[in-house]
């Protein structure tokens, strides 16, 4: 099968395709609605997938440290298994390691100033050294976290935490805390607010022993051999895993997206959208081809090659794709903006946009196959009998 898409500026194939489509506007509208529905569905699902994927690794991505030491079998950042903090000193003795920072995480109960409680996810690390500190600080100062009983909270959760902003006070685990730094956009996919504090306060709020931590963040010397240091760390530490930041990122992402089934559900939704779109476009292209069968038979009778006729049909599919995608992309942008401040924002990256356009084109071209098969069976001699 020859599929040469001829230069549309010169060939009548494009004009014929365009006129065939716009000739029956009702059918065109139905097709475009089908494509838009399909692509918006795929956009939302994949956008959620991307947003979710980014959200579940946001702490890992913002931590400073080339290697993560964690209890063996840790599935994700939010998996608070304890490890012996003495391992920190063992790690510090390995050549190539410049610093090791303890990180303590855990759930705690936040008592609202006005009464009632809400769970929070506490993250604590050494305030002065490299580690895991709040970012996107819009008010206050993270240095203030070195003052006892101070925390940083995200403004997204002010209502949940029952506070109004900087200087607000509440209680965690019966201890009075003051908000000394406010961040923007550090949201949790679990919807439980993150609260940053110092290492010792985190231990206190989460009930973690002073000899325990959850992660050890390892900083390496410039030009240190990451694999070499990792091997040495593995040899000198027991019951732990040593992962690079990228590895922990992937593990965490895989756990939340696939082991929990959340990602599979999003992919299933996207796949469903693609199937719906393909079927709708295929159905309308097929019926359009059937309606124009006399014209295609005439084209064949006057000597057009199969490739020329396929080009007309492919152009029809591509025009559908461009119109459908343009509208769907517009709707997608609105949805992205509407969900930007939500607990689970839909993400639209340039890569996803290009991918969605390619997907739309692919979907429409695949849809053209049934129409092409129909045309391939045309008997040009039918023009004598119609």
């Amino acid at each position: 099968m020859t599929l040469m898409v001829q230069p549309f500026a010169r060939s009548l194939a494009f004009k014929l395709a365009r006129r065939n489509l716009f000739h029956d506007r009702l059918r065109l509208v139905a097709t475009v609605i089908g494509i838009v529905f399909s692509i918006v569905l795929v956009t939302v699902q994949l956008g959620l997938y991307l947003g979710f994927g980014r959200m579940v690794t946001t702490m890992i991505d913002h931590a400073s440290g080339e290697l993560w030491i964690m209890p063996a079998g840790t599935k994700s950042f939010e998996d608070p298994s304890p490890l012996d903090e003495r391992k920190r000193f063992t790690a510090l003795s390995v050549t190539g390691v410049t610093d090791v920072t303890s990180v303590v995480i855990g759930f705690a109960e936040w008592r609202l100033p006005g009464g009632g409680t809400t769970p929070v996810f506490v993250i604590g690390s050494d305030v002065r050294g490299p580690g895991l500190h709040p970012w996107n600080v819009v008010a206050g100062n993270t240095d203030a976290l070195s003052v006892p009983n101070t925390v940083a909270a995200d403004q997204t959760y002010f209502d949940r935490l029952g506070i109004k902003g900087l200087g607000a006070t509440a209680e965690i685990r019966g201890q009075k805390v003051e908000v000394v730094a406010v961040t923007k956009g550090i949201r949790s996919f679990t919807t439980t607010p993150y609260v940053f504090t110092s290492l010792d306060r985190a231990r206190s709020y989460t009930g973690t022993s002073a000899a325990k931590a959850n992660f050890l963040l390892v900083q390496l010397a410039p030009k240190a051999d990451v694999e070499g240091v990792r091997t040495k760390l593995r040899a000198s530490l027991t019951d732990v895993e040593v992962l690079t930041q990228a590895e922990f990122h992937d593990r965490s992402r895989e756990f939340w997206l696939f082991d929990t089934g959340a990602g599979a559900a999003l992919f299933a939704g996207a796949l469903l959208g693609m199937i719906v779109g393909t079927v709708i476009v295929a159905q309308t292209l097929y019926s359009s081809t059937k309606d124009h069968i006399n014209e295609f038979a005439t084209l064949r009778a006057i000597g057009s090659s199969g490739g020329y006729i396929h080009t007309v049909i492919i152009w029809q599919a591509l025009i559908n794709a461009v119109i459908g995608f343009s509208i769907a992309a517009g709707i997608g942008v609105v949805i992205v903006r509407m969900t930007a401040e939500s607990a689970l924002p839909i993400l639209m990256t340039p890569g996803l946009t290009i991918g969605l356009f390619a997907l739309t084109v692919f979907m429409c071209v695949i849809s053209a196959i049934s129409a092409i098969i129909k045309v391939m069976r045309i008997d040009p001699a039918m023009v004598f009998t119609r």
Partner: protein, 283 residues
Amino acid sequence: MTADVIPVHQGLGEPAAAVLEATDVVKVLGTGAGQVRALKGVSLSLAPGELTLLMGPSGSGKTTLLSVLGCMMTPSDGTVRVCGQSTKDAGPEQLAKLRRDHIGFIFQSYHLFPTLTALDNVRLALDVRGQHGWAVKARAKKALITVGLGHKTKSFPSELSGGEQQRVAIARAIVGNAPIILADEPTAALDSKNGHAIMEVLAKIAADPTRAVLVVTHDPRIVPFAKRIVRIEDGSIVGEEHRSEGRGISDDRGTGEEHDMKKREQDFEDEDSIKTKRVRMQR
């Protein structure tokens, strides 16, 4: 006008000059119990400069023969040669190429593209040959002028009368300079005046010494335009008649040609403008 009736014998014509040559063509249609021998050893050749009528009753095999001669079907037996090229064992794409390169078609129901203008309908015949651009547009316009529709290049088929639509179809058939023009009942859907005009155009095309025109028809009114009449019955050619001169072939092909064309355009304009206005009012 004189008509020399000659005895029935198949395979008439001068092979050296023939642009289309069918020899002992058999075409079997259908399978099993429904199998029909639509053509039973037909031989026919078309020479340039001739307008040949193929006449016969319904079911006689006219359309099947036209389909075989027009390279839309391959014969079950026998040979068809188009400008020296055999259609034997040719696949659909090779047959399409033969049609594209050598044959122009005119259909009973015109088969114009309703979404394209008259000019684009004609251009399409060149477009499928891979010819695009301004020169092609000019050629298409010239073809429309030849059939008397130089003033309706931008009209859509729905804005044209039946006669005008058929003339667009003729322009589409001739624009590629195909040496063979095959017309299937070109006047069947037209009134006598338009039918007459269409046959005049076809006779003029047939007068071109590089072109052969075969017209399949039931219409006895167009007999005077033919140089040759081939009669087919029950899948076999049963008679052939050579006429000394077709009525539509004018000797005046020199300076008088332009005058004739303008006159013909004027005649049609009077009638067609009324029809076009009616169509527009209906919209």
